[in-house]
């Protein structure tokens, strides 16, 4: 029905597949990127289906597979799935909390041909880290896991999500990465979608803290050049221009949920009017080219002003659609994180105000329970704050 096939100039092939193998996770981080309504184990794709999806992904041009979750090692078939990646030449990246059964499966994953490990660390101080992650005794498990990763000779990346509860530990995260023998460190300021949007007031740091954290990272990059690569994701609300979400909608990334729903990014389900296709009904190539969710905001045709005539439109692709919906009430609006958005000053003020208040308690992520705090409403241009 549609003449567009993957990897034509108008439709480049996807580079990465985010395989959310399960939503189950021993941690309960209040900024989790999983949706508020988590998939249950009974609804998860089986091994054979994942293997088919991976085979289709390789054929489509995917190079990197991010084995994620939830906690991907909670799947009994994680080793088999990793083997499949290796057999297909796909670069496998395990995105893990390092707790629970992760360590027990690590050697088998290495033997299966795992390429890289990204380990999350919630904090440097164990008590703080375990408060954020909502799991006691997590920190020593993570350190033991990291030690085994480097012992095996696997490249290790530490991922630290930064917010007001740990922004004072940025220097510590850098030292920790060096100490644990990581080659990469992600200092990723929280992006406020999903659980993080609900918890925004508890997580939002103030501008001075953010600026300080950026200075620390820049100094460390210089100091540790050749020893540790540090990737910095600056917080949207304080940025001048938005991020090209997932490298541009439907341009680089596919995200398959535990139940097999295929999303252009992990938060896309918050845009309620989008129609998502499932791997059980369509091939990955068909979904990439033709699924209404992927075509909705691909390219620039859907853009409104100021994006439409902006010379950055093919750089940041209008920013994040989910954030546009959450903050502006319109998924096709300019991401209010952009300084060119009419709502941008409101976003700044909002961040400033929330950061100045006493933080509320975290709403921890859980499967199958109601979120007892309403997500913040969208901003209006004339709305008093």
């Amino acid at each position: 029905m549609n003449a567009i096939t993957p990897n034509t100039p108008s439709l480049p092939a996807p580079v990465g597949l985010l395989a959310e193998l399960t939503h189950r996770c021993p941690l309960r981080c209040p900024y989790c990127s999983n949706p508020l309504e988590l998939d249950r184990r009974s609804g998860e794709l089986d091994t054979a289906t994942w293997q088919r999806v991976l085979t289709e992904a390789a054929g489509l041009g995917v190079l990197h597979v991010h084995l994620s979750g939830g906690e991907p090692t909670a799947r009994n078939d994680i080793v088999e799935i990793t083997q499949t990646c290796a057999r297909l030449g796909l670069y496998s990246n395990l995105i893990t909390s390092g707790v629970g059964g992760a360590l027990a499966k690590l050697d088998a994953l290495y033997d299966a041909g795992l390429d890289h490990v990204q380990l999350s660390v919630q904090g440097v101080d164990a008590a703080n880290a375990e408060k954020i992650g909502g799991l006691k005794n997590a920190q020593p498990q993570k350190f033991a896991f990291a030690e085994r990763v480097t012992q095996l000779g696997l490249p290790l990346t530490l991922n630290s999500v930064i917010h007001r509860g740990n922004i004072h530990e940025v220097e510590g995260f850098i030292d920790l990465a060096v100490k644990l023998g990581a080659k990469r460190l992600e200092v990723a300021h929280t992006q406020y979608y999903g659980w993080a949007y609900v918890n925004r007031a508890a997580l939002m740091p103030d501008k001075a803290q953010v600026d300080q954290s950026i200075r620390i990272v820049e100094a460390a990059r210089e100091r540790l050049k050749g020893q540790l690569v540090i990737d910095l994701v600056v917080p949207d609300y304080y940025a001048k221009y938005p991020k090209a979400c997932a490298g541009g909608w439907g341009r680089k990334l596919m995200n398959v949920t535990p139940a097999g729903k295929v999303l252009p990014c992990h938060a896309a389900e918050t845009i309620k009017h989008l129609e998502f296709w499932y791997v059980s009904d369509h091939s990955l190539a068909d979904i990439w080219a033709n699924s209404p969710a992927f075509t909705a905001y691909r390219g620039t045709d859907w853009m409104k002003e100021p994006c439409r005539s902006c010379d950055r439109r093919e750089k940041d692709w209008g920013g994040c659609r989910c954030q546009a919906l959450a903050l502006a009430g319109d998924a096709a609006a300019t991401d209010p994180a952009c300084s060119l958005s009419p709502l941008h000053s409101k976003v700044r003020e909002l961040a400033k105000e929330e950061a100045a208040e006493t933080p509320p308690d975290y709403v921890y992520r859980t499967i199958g329970s109601n979120v007892d705090r309403a997500a913040p409403p969208p901003l209006k241009e004339d709305a008093p704050l």
């Binding site: 041009g61 990197h64 000779g153 990469r184 050049k225 050749g226």
Partner: protein, 358 residues
């Protein structure tokens, strides 16, 4: 008071020495106990220490240097005579400098940086041996608790230091290619400061040690100070020479260093003779869908041009950079030196990004 230090046991010790005899007795203590006689210092002077042993020495000795003004301030605080204080305060000025970037502590930091340390790491003193800390702290406590005469006498090791310092400069410059004249700037200054300080102190001791008991105390104080220095070298030898028992939390080679040095020690800075390799988690792959070669690495993909593919295809963990350049020079009928420069630039870029090792 019970003397915790060895004292002469002969009848001689009961006799009041003339000032000249006292000075000779004090110099004799140095001749037998000063730390230039320590095996670690012999290794240091003879160019027999490796770079990491030199680093351990510079790092630990920093704590001693850093605490000297604290010690001198404690001595100063006990001096009731302004004319004494005017002289003694110069020691603090010499060590702390009159402004940031000046003074003896700063020069020691330059030495530590010169051998590769990060300044903040050295200043933190987190990597020093406990024995270093205990010895140095004991010295500070000593000058606070003992008489002013003993405090001043304990500084008399300076009488012995000029010799050893010139020996150290010469010895090190001769034997360690990584020690430069700049790095050793500290010692140039101490050569003139130390004799001046020592002259005042020995005069004071000769003048104030007016009884056999006071003379004995002065000698014991100097012996104590020699032990402060000696013990620090014992600990360095034990941890970093033989048997190599490094206590938990003490500095281990490869840590606390500035990036370029850490690079040279591990990955990074690829040179002609090095054998580069792609570590686990970095793979060269042909991408059929896009019809090109790519280098797959943690969280990123490098699109490769034909030249990069030609180089990386030869990176096999067996060939040196030179081998690769020669091989490419044959293939492309080009000058191997020109090719090698390009290959090194490319491999170093990848090493900086942590996707290539050697």
């Amino acid at each position: 008071m019970t003397a915790p230090f060895p004292t002469p046991k002969t009848d001689e010790s009961q006799r009041l020495l003339s000032p000249e005899e006292l000075e000779a007795a004090l110099r004799d203590i140095g001749a037998r106990r000063y730390h230039n006689l320590h095996p670690f210092h012999r290794l240091l002077h003879d160019g027999k220490l490796n770079k990491d042993q030199i680093r351990a020495w510079a790092l630990n000795r920093y704590y001693y240097q850093a605490m000297i003004p604290v010690k001198d301030a404690a001595v100063l605080a006990r001096m009731e005579d302004a004319s004494l204080r005017r002289v003694w305060r110069q020691r603090i000025v010499d060590h702390d400098g009159d402004a940031p970037g000046d003074g003896g502590i700063e020069r020691w930091l330059k030495l530590a940086e010169g051998v590769g340390f990060r300044r903040d790491y050295v200043e933190s003193t987190q990597g020093i041996l406990s024995a270093t800390r205990f010895s140095v702290d004991a010295y500070v406590h000593f000058v606070k608790e003992r008489s002013l005469l003993e405090a001043i006498a304990s500084s008399l090791t300076e009488m012995f230091s000029p010799t050893i310092i010139s020996e150290r400069v010469a010895g090190m410059l001769k034997n360690y290619d990584f020690i430069t004249k700049d790095t050793l700037a500290y010692f140039d200054k101490r050569l003139t400061q130390a004799p001046r300080d020592a002259e005042f102190a020995i005069d004071y001791v000769k003048q104030h040690a007016t009884t056999p008991e006071l003379q004995r105390q002065a000698m014991a104080a100097l012996t104590f100070k020699c032990n402060v220095l000696w013990t620090q070298l014992d600990a360095l030898y034990f941890s970093y020479v033989a048997p190599g028992m490094t206590p938990p939390d003490a500095w281990v080679p490869g840590t606390g260093l500035v990036a370029e040095v850490a690079q040279a020690a591990g990955t990074g800075t690829v040179r002609s003779a090095d054998v580069p390799r792609l570590p686990r988690g970095v793979r060269l792959r042909h991408d059929e869908v896009r019809g090109q070669h790519v280098l797959l690495a943690p969280e990123r993909t490098f699109d490769l041009d034909a030249n990069a593919v030609a180089v990386l295809s030869l990176v096999d963990g067996q060939r040196s950079v030179r081998d690769i350049a020669v091989k490419l020079a044959e293939t492309f009928a080009a000058d191997p030196d020109v090719i090698e420069a390009d290959v090194l630039a490319m491999l170093n870029d990848l090493a900086t990004k942590r996707v290539l090792e050697r």
